[in-house]
Assembly symmetry: C2
Homo-oligomer: 484 residues x 2
């Protein structure tokens, strides 16, 4: 077995064991590694570079919609966390507690933030006095700790990175508008930059954020047919403003509690990129967030340092000037074949091969990671063609993921149909639901499928829509799935 083959063979095929494939891809492509403490991970440079691209592209959108960044403390005194009853109930089982500072036992335990509503609330209460101070549109990039029992790299880890928006508004309507504006921004971001189609909708009351009035989410289908929540946007109503006394004098000189929202997306998105696009050979990264968009591999035969390398360097410079994230791999200790396999596994969107004959002909060979298609391009046309090709790859990945979701979204009208679909076909099951807690729970217990979202986009409703579980009149169409 050659070295090249060995390298690729080391990854368990996705179709054989998805879960093992996932963790092997992460480790072998050096996206992340397990830390020596249970449930914790290290985001290695290759994985962190994807996160940096996500941050940059998302931060730009957050700012373009009028938000500014700030930074609030990592620790939250226990008494603050307890002020909103539902909030503390939801989060306290997951909190890591600091009880000793320096050499001294603390008088009050400090929670390592599981989310920041309870430390931001007291500050907003101090800063906001009048309607003139509103809206407050603040976002924070931060690390978060939740003491999870079952963890998986990127998807669910004891510590993760995220952005959390926390806004205050004069009216309930404005808060609802903000919640939905962010949800739309998240959807556009994930579809444009990560090439993953999502369904935007409401969560049920069972699945909402602890302390929220209403939670909205975007949900995607991973390539094993399980759903993944990609981001959430909460309308907090006045739950926290009443708990933390965040009041303002309105335009009629009356004291009112502010209306709030909060919303977040996390490093989980990196896991989504792996699971939505990867194949048996490893990663397939969307060009918009790929740390390396194109790798130039010089074919090292004969006097290649003289005959090939100068042309490869010229191509590298030209691509860099065109704004492409390009790497020239001229290392001598690895063969071209080894490099082909390595960058394929790492999901680099385009490989550029340049050999002695190519240089003579003034051309290079481009190989797409997503389709494997090869094409020859004149060296002086390389930047233009590559920019076009990266766009095509981004579009192809999205189209493929959308086609996969469509092929794996099934309607189910009877409970038998429903359970059979969940069991045998996976994916999303679209069914009508009575809105009752009992049916939601029964379905969850019996099928492990949960209501992922009640979609915002409505469909033509049949004349008689009944709950897939109890047969009573339906309240809404819902997307069900087994989920991460």
């Amino acid at each position: 077995m050659s070295k090249d083959e060995r390298l690729v063979k080391q990854i368990t095929p996705k179709t054989e064991d998805f879960s093992r494939w996932y963790t092997e891809v992460i480790q072998k492509t050096e996206l992340a590694d397990y830390a020596p403490m249970k449930g914790m991970m290290v985001i290695r440079p290759y994985g962190y570079a994807i996160w940096e691209n996500i941050q940059r592209l998302l931060d730009r959108r957050i700012k373009a919609t009028g938000h500014v960044n700030a930074y609030f403390p990592l620790f939250i005194p226990e008494s603050f966390l307890q002020k909103e009853a539902e909030h503390v109930q939801g989060f306290s089982p997951e909190v890591a507690w600091v009880t000793v500072g320096g050499k001294e036992e603390l008088e009050e335990r400090l929670a390592v933030r599981p989310t920041s509503e309870a430390i931001i609330g007291p500050m907003y209460s101090r800063w906001i006095k009048s309607w003139r101070d509103l809206p407050v549109l603040i976002n924070q990039w931060a690390n978060i700790v939740r003491w999870e029992k079952v963890t998986r790299p990127f998807l669910r880890t004891t510590e993760f990175l995220w952005q959390e928006g926390h806004t205050c508004h004069e009216t309930a309507e404005e808060a609802e508008d903000e919640t939905l504006r962010i949800l739309a921004m998240y959807k556009e971001f994930v579809e444009t930059e990560l090439a993953i189609p999502v369904i935007a909708g409401q969560k049920t009351l069972r699945e909402k954020f602890a302390g929220a009035q209403m939670t909205y989410a975007i949900e995607a289908l991973m390539s094993d047919g399980k759903a993944l929540q990609m981001g959430t946007s909460h309308n907090l109503g006045q739950h926290f403003s009443k708990a933390f006394d965040i009041k303002f004098e309105d335009r009629n000189q009356t004291l009112q509690y502010v209306w709030q929202t909060s919303w977040g997306m996390t490093t989980r998105l990196v896991g989504a990129v792996i699971m939505a696009h990867g194949d048996d050979s490893g990663l397939r990264l969307p060009p918009r967030v790929a740390p390396v968009q194109a790798v130039i591999v010089p074919i090292s035969i004969g006097n290649w340092r003289e005959s090939v390398l100068p042309a490869a360097r010229t191509a590298e410079d030209a691509l860099k000037s065109a704004g492409v994230r390009v790497r020239l791999d001229a290392r001598e200790e690895f063969t071209p074949g080894w490099k082909f396999a390595e960058y394929e596994m790492r999901g680099v969107p385009v490989r550029i091969e340049v050999g002695p004959r190519d240089v003579k002909a003034g051309q290079a060979v481009l190989v797409r990671r997503d389709t494997g298609t090869k094409e020859t391009v004149a060296l002086d046309a390389l930047p233009t063609r590559l920019l076009g090709l990266l766009g095509e790859i981004q579009a192809t990945l999205f189209r493929e993921a959308l086609a996969f979701r469509e092929a794996n979204t099934h309607g189910a009208r009877t409970y038998e149909e429903f359970t059979a679909t969940v069991e045998t076909r996976r994916g999303f099951v679209k069914s009508y639901w009575c809105g009752g807690d009992a049916c939601e729970e029964k379905i969850k217990n019996e099928t492990m499928a949960t209501i992922r979202v009640i979609p915002l986009e409505t469909e033509a409703r049949p004349e008689r829509a009944v709950c897939v579980c109890c047969g009573k009149e339906a309240k809404a169409l819902a997307y069900f799935a087994r989920a991460y």
Copy 2:
């Protein structure tokens, strides 16, 4: 007293009470606020925007020198922290400890990272096998917790933000080169972007990082005559590689411990910008890191919405296109006078006044925050002139800070001269030192001045250079000062 006057008068003059001036400026310009827990702060949007500019400009330099970013866990098991003896001794008095996770008491306490050597070490031990894996050049942007007894916003807080570089090399020479390369990068960054001149040099063994072989630092003089450490770069030798078993097979197939460095700069830099450049009216922000580089204040008289506002908007667009961070403040609830005072306090480098007569004459008035100088400029020449002016302001702030440091750096040859200078004139005192721990300690105890650095740039040495404290033969010239 007018509203404008009141606003400025609210700040205690710098010359009257520097420490009060500092905290008042921070609160009134909304750079930061005190959190409800002792020693913790909230970085508000205006302060965080300065930090974002620092991050962007520093991250660019970190990457240009070949480093990549990654993310390591927030928590460090106690047993890891204990592996390097000097390290644990130095940091354990300052550690916040997590002892409960979820509902369970932890078997082993987890330190909230006071620095990350002890969690990065075990990972490097796993990742590094051969000389081919070296150098490892990783940087991390993260939050850090140190349980400080005396705190002050930005300068010393229980939690702060920083970047920490952690590198591994094949040889001692390479590690020393890296340590000094970073020190030079820090100096260039602080002088270019923050307009603060610094002295680069070695720390004494007393003042070095706990676990380092040698610490280098850059030190600046604040405008009250006290020194501030701006950044440190440590040559860790093999202290941590031996403690964490980070070995590699060298080019001769022999197992060796790697040679390491670590280095960091923190949100303290924001405090330095305030203290180095601020005046009695508030902040004076260097244009390169100012969140708002120029504010356009329309003079709201007569039918200004028709006569002035369109021209102001055109100017705003032109400046934005030229890459200037500009804000047009067209709010009606505040007078131009109030705005002048507000942006002066907030340290916006240039104010652009546009009134009805200016528009008719096709011009605007530019007012420099640093000098108060006014000039008239044609509206169509505005972008070009403003870019030039921002450069001049940046240079002026640096020149002023350098002149201040030169005027406040004094030589002292006798101990009497030394103590009198420290007591009455403040600033840096340059004196020869025998290199002995006893003299260093005596000086610290008797004068509260410490050795800030032994400068890298050497001066012509007098024929007979003796220690300012004991009179024995001197080993080095040192910069002493009282410091933050």
